[in-house]
């Protein structure tokens, strides 16, 4: 099925040069050497082609053949993606294990989507219907709760001439026939799409619904909108992966695509072993039933790491096209950038900053621009939100990947080593982080909770930045030198930091906070502040406020009050009223 298009002339790591046909296309998928390793053409010059190989090239010889396929690097799309775990070029890792044992050998070729498994398919079109690209032809239940909407390839359109009756079909069985111009085309549930080409949509919509993650520092303080893009940069040990895992577990997206790009093997194993046992609070089904995993760990071939990001985003777009909200985690985009750098170095391209190629910014932009809240071709609406981890060398945010990423995201969650050292998790620094979605999602909060979230959130941020200023003074002269009103600010911000911002991902009650719980906690802390401030202004010493038993109650509320018992916050508020009331009475004079 594939012809020889060249002979290898040069090999260095994942980069191979060959001489041969002038008809090979740029970015065409090729098979390299006798083992037919997967590769992609990344450069052409006369009859010379440069190929990056997605597998280990040790043992490959010059003079070995290269075979063309005539197709660009593509992924298979269809029912069966959910719950899969793939490598960077969409090879199913469980099948590789079955065939080759515990270690990944070269030259493994497997269908990405099972050809045997049957899906109950129900057609949604009838003979004579005019259908355009992206149209929903029918549905198959991919899991008990997830409806897989089988769509016409975006590039096709025509008149339906035949539809399969409802029944069980494999992804390669015909489910419809289509008259396109003069020819008739058979449609199956399976389609292929080139990974480097964004799937088309009708138009972008404003992103003004927050992606709720259950993480208080994110939802309440630095929200990302559905269809938005966020970056989490941080030095090692600051909790990038834990944060990514928390979002993957609790985000209110219908589909999660998790890309482990050049990261640890044990982390992927953790996800694999944990997600099937965790229950999605919204559907009551295991979290794995909404998850697609792409695992290209740090010791797997580096070129496939480069491809893994595109494989993931293409799968995410496919589910978006069905009308779903998809959240994509990429951990870590720095490893992806390093893969670009390594290949670029082997091509002896002129480096720009720190050895990275000059096109780094362009590639990052292309990737993050594939996020969006859109009107799909078939009239549904869906979104892809991207959360990209960044691993800056030495934790220095001035390095190229962090800096370029900042240009293309609108939400920046800066992780902080010193917070992590004090075991303040998530170690997201509230003074360095920002979200440009605040105004956009304000209306949603008002509608959902009936409360003025943005004003409260800004008030809390104001107190926190006040705290930062005051702590500079405290460092010089000690807290006793501050007036009571300023020390009241410090009392409140301690509640904000320990009661709100800190969140324990491993504790069942605290791991996920509902929107209602979050806003109620925020409200309570601010209420505490207003009452306390009023009393302190009357001359009450600050230590009386500090010693109120309710302080401890508020700090512990995150792990003692569950999402279902929001009314218990009313009791805490009563305790504030009662204890503050007593003080108030004492200092009324």
């Amino acid at each position: 099925m594939s012809d020889q298009v060249g002979t290898i002339t040069w090999i260095s790591g994942p980069v191979v040069r060959a001489r041969g046909s002038r008809h090979v296309g740029m970015l065409e998928l090729v098979e390299v050497g006798a083992d037919r390793l997967v590769g992609e053409v990344i450069g052409l010059k006369g009859d010379q082609m440069t190929v990056q190989v997605y597998e280990e090239t040790a043992g490959m010889q010059t003079g070995a053949p290269i075979y063309g396929t005539g197709l660009p690097l593509s992924v298979e799309l269809g029912p069966g993606l959910i719950q899969s775990i793939y490598d960077g070029v969409q090879r199913p890792l469980p099948l590789i294990e079955e065939a080759m044992g515990s270690f990944i050998n070269r030259g493994a070729r497997f269908d990405s989507i099972s050809r045997e498994k049957k899906w109950r398919y129900t057609s949604r079109v009838k003979v004579g219907d005019e259908v355009k690209g992206g149209a929903i032809l029918g549905v198959a239940m991919e899991t008990d709760t997830l409806e897989h909407r089988v769509m016409l390839n975006p590039d096709d359109s025509g008149t339906i001439t035949w539809v399969a009756p409802s029944g069980d079909y494999t992804v390669t069985d015909p489910i419809a026939k289509l008259k396109m111009g003069k020819e008739e085309k058979t449609v199956t549930m399976l389609q292929r799409w080139p990974v480097r080409r964004a799937r088309p949509f009708t138009n972008r919509r404003p992103a003004n619904i927050p992606l709720i993650t259950g993480q208080r520092i994110l939802d309440t303080f630095f929200p990302v909108a559905k269809g938005g893009a966020a970056g989490i940069p941080g030095p090692f040990g600051s909790g990038k992966t834990v944060t990514q895992h928390s979002i993957a577990k609790w985000a209110d997206a219908e589909i999660i695509v998790y890309i482990g790009c050049g990261e640890r093997g044990n982390e992927m194993t953790e996800v694999l072993q944990e997600f099937p046992h965790l229950v999605d609070p919204r559907t009551g089904r295991p979290l794995m039933e909404r998850t697609v995993l792409i695992a290209n760990t740090s010791n797997m071939p580096v070129a496939a790491r480069e491809a893994s990001i595109y494989t993931g985003i293409t799968i995410a777009e496919y589910y978006r096209d069905m009308g779903y909200h998809v959240a994509l985690m990429a951990d870590s985009t720095s490893r992806w950038a390093e893969a670009l750098r390594e290949v670029s170095g082997r091509l002896e391209e002129m480096p720009a900053e720190e050895g990275y190629p000059a096109y780094l910014a362009g590639r990052l932009a292309e990737f993050y621009e594939r996020a969006g809240y859109v009107d799909n071709l078939n009239g549904t609406q869906g979104s892809v939100s991207i959360v990209g981890a960044v691993s800056p060398p030495g934790g220095d945010f001035s390095e190229p990947v962090t800096q370029h990423t900042k240009r293309f995201i609108r939400c920046f969650w800066a992780l902080d080593k010193s917070l992590a050292s004090a075991r303040h998790f998530p170690a997201i620094n509230w003074l360095d982080s920002y979200s440009e979605y605040l105004e956009d999602v304000g209306a949603w909060w008002r509608e959902k909770t009936g409360k003025d979230w943005l004003t409260m959130r800004n008030r809390a941020m104001e107190l926190l930045s006040e705290e930062s200023r005051l702590s500079q003074i405290v460092k010089l002269v000690g807290p006793d030198a501050l007036p009571y009103t300023e020390r009241m600010v410090l009392e409140t911000t301690r509640l904000i930091r320990e009661g709100l911002l800190q969140q324990n991902a491993t504790e069942s009650v605290d791991a996920f906070s509902s929107v209602e719980k979050q806003i109620r906690m925020l409200e309570l802390v601010l209420y505490f502040h207003e009452r306390g401030m009023a009393i302190v202004k009357k001359g009450a010493p600050i230590n009386l406020i500090h010693d109120l038993p309710v302080v401890d109650t508020i700090i512990r509320a995150k792990s003692t009050v569950t999402n279902e018992e929001i009314t218990r916050f009313d009791e805490i508020q009563k305790q504030i009223d009662q204890q503050m009331g007593q003080l108030d009475a004492e200092y009324r004079s």
Partner: protein, 475 residues
């Protein structure tokens, strides 16, 4: 090991260019990328090398022992047609090998027909078992707050002149499978130890050898030594050879293997040297752009797989140049490994052993190996509380250095006392002291009891009721 590879292979007489340890060999046909070569100099001496790049009619070869004495016309290069393999056998425990895996203890070549590729192969993430069994090292700063699990890779970040070797030796000597706090001591399952030295001084290698002898562990240790005066290029292979044996022992012989690699900084320098000679585009501090992937190809050879009871636990040791944790070697290592144990210069000056700087240290897998049914229910929160309190101590110390201790509030004074006691009683222990997990927890609670109850927001009220021993007066 030469007997596997000698048959076959073409020979080329004369080389085109020699630059440092790199030779450009012209005229070979069908040379494979990454294959092993034997290089014979004009006096008939043989050294080994490896193909780094192949082109039409030429190959770039790296000579492990360097190029001293090689000439353009008098050098013969024989391509062996296979990647670098070493013999692997259980009887290699108790033996000493050079950096390429040949015996240097005067004994015979290991008797085996199992040869394994030193590059190994990536473990399929679906074939792994997530590590959950903790290793009791008897050292409070590790067991208590940075717990090591079987199948974890946890490096020691140190600096010149600090006792990282002693600490590593103590871990090796004391490591046993962890038990529930309070469980009666049992004969712990012993680890097989694979030790790789890259560019360390003879004394260091000797220190480990003596330490293994004294603890009676020598018969279950395999040592791979590339010392400071050995060819630097060999260092690229040494850790890989060690890990290849470790993989065989863990995944085929079902043993629990502890791998100690020292000093990874020297490994990085050897890699940089070769990259430099080849004229590659450097990234940071002259290190090649692929340093991360290269380190990962070794560190990721740690873990457990479903088809074997065995495990590989890695403790790489790095001396941070100028104690700089942002240097590419510790930095990239930290991004790959599952935490790090950092040694602190100040603690070392203060005479505290082991001088583990608790705040920058971390064990990522700790959360999955401790707590209920593993150590004790309160352990995770207890650990977080100790961290938080000790972090607060640092702030208080900074404040005290400005305004003086007398000016501190009562609570801050207590933190100051807590901090001192924490370093002297919790961190500090003797080289021979092997603390049980319950002892470590007990010391921690004793220290926490120096603080007012109100400050302990990370532990639960129930736990305070059970374990808090202070009088909590005047908070």
């Amino acid at each position: 090991m030469s007997e596997v590879t000698v048959q076959g292979g073409q020979e080329v007489v004369g080389v085109g260019r020699i630059e440092g340890p790199i030779l450009v060999v012209e005229g070979g046909a069908n040379v494979s990328y990454d294959e092993v070569v034997e290089i014979q100099d004009s006096r008939g001496q043989i050294r080994r090398g490896r193909v780094l790049e192949v082109g039409e009619g030429f190959a770039v070869v790296q000579a492990f022992a360097g190029s001293t004495g090689l000439s353009i016309d008098g050098t013969r290069v024989r391509f062996l047609g296979t990647t670098l393999h070493i013999p692997v056998a259980e009887e290699m425990l108790g033996r000493i090998f050079d950096g390429l895996g040949s015996p240097i203890d005067g004994g015979p070549e290991p008797l085996t027909d199992r040869y394994a590729d030193v590059n190994g192969q990536p473990i399929n993430p679906t074939a792994r078992i997530y590590p959950r069994d903790y290793i009791q090292t008897g050292i409070s700063t590790i067991d208590g707050v940075n717990t090591l699990l079987r199948g974890q890779k946890l490096p020691l970040f140190s600096g010149a002149g600090m006792p990282h070797d002693q600490l590593a030796a103590q871990i090796v000597r004391q490591a046993t499978l962890g038990k529930l706090a309070g469980a009666p001591p049992t004969e712990g399952e012993e680890f097989a130890i694979v030790f790789a030295a890259m560019g360390v001084k003879n004394d260091v290698a000797d220190y480990f050898r003596r330490s293994f002898t004294e603890s009676g562990a020598l018969t279950r240790v395999a040592m791979f030594l590339n010392l400071a005066d050995d060819p630097p290029v060999e260092r690229i292979v040494t850790p890989r050879a060690a890990l290849t044996l470790a993989e065989y022992l863990a995944y085929e012989r079902e043993m629990h293997v502890l791998v100690v690699l020292t000093d990874m900084t020297n490994y990085g320098e050897a890699l940089r040297q070769i990259s430099n000679v080849r004229g590659e585009v450097p990234s940071r501090k002259g290190y090649p752009g692929y340093l991360y992937s290269d380190l990962a190809s070794m560190y990721e050879r740690t873990g457990r797989i479903r088809t074997s009871k065995g495990s590989i636990t890695q403790i790489p040791i790095l001396t941070m140049p100028n104690d700089d944790i942002t240097h590419p070697m510790p930095d990239l290592t930290g991004y790959i490994t599952e935490g790090q144990i950092v040694l602190g210069r100040e603690l070392n000056f203060a005479g505290i052993y082991p001088p583990v700087a608790v705040l920058p240290s971390l064990s990522r897998l700790m959360k999955d190996g401790i707590g209920k049914n593993r150590t004790r229910d309160d352990h995770p929160r207890w650990g977080a509380q100790l961290y938080a309190a000790y972090a607060r101590t640092q702030d208080v110390r900074a404040l005290a250095s400005v305004i003086g201790e007398e000016e501190l509030s009562d609570v801050d004074q207590k933190y100051l006392k807590f901090g001192r006691a924490f370093e002297r009683e919790f961190v500090n222990q003797s080289f021979t002291e092997n603390r049980t997990i319950e002892r470590t927890l007990e010391i921690g609670w004793k220290l926490l009891s120096m603080l007012p109850k109100k400050e302990l927001t990370r532990v639960t009220l129930d736990e305070i009721a059970i374990y808090y021993k202070g009088d909590d007066a005047s908070n």
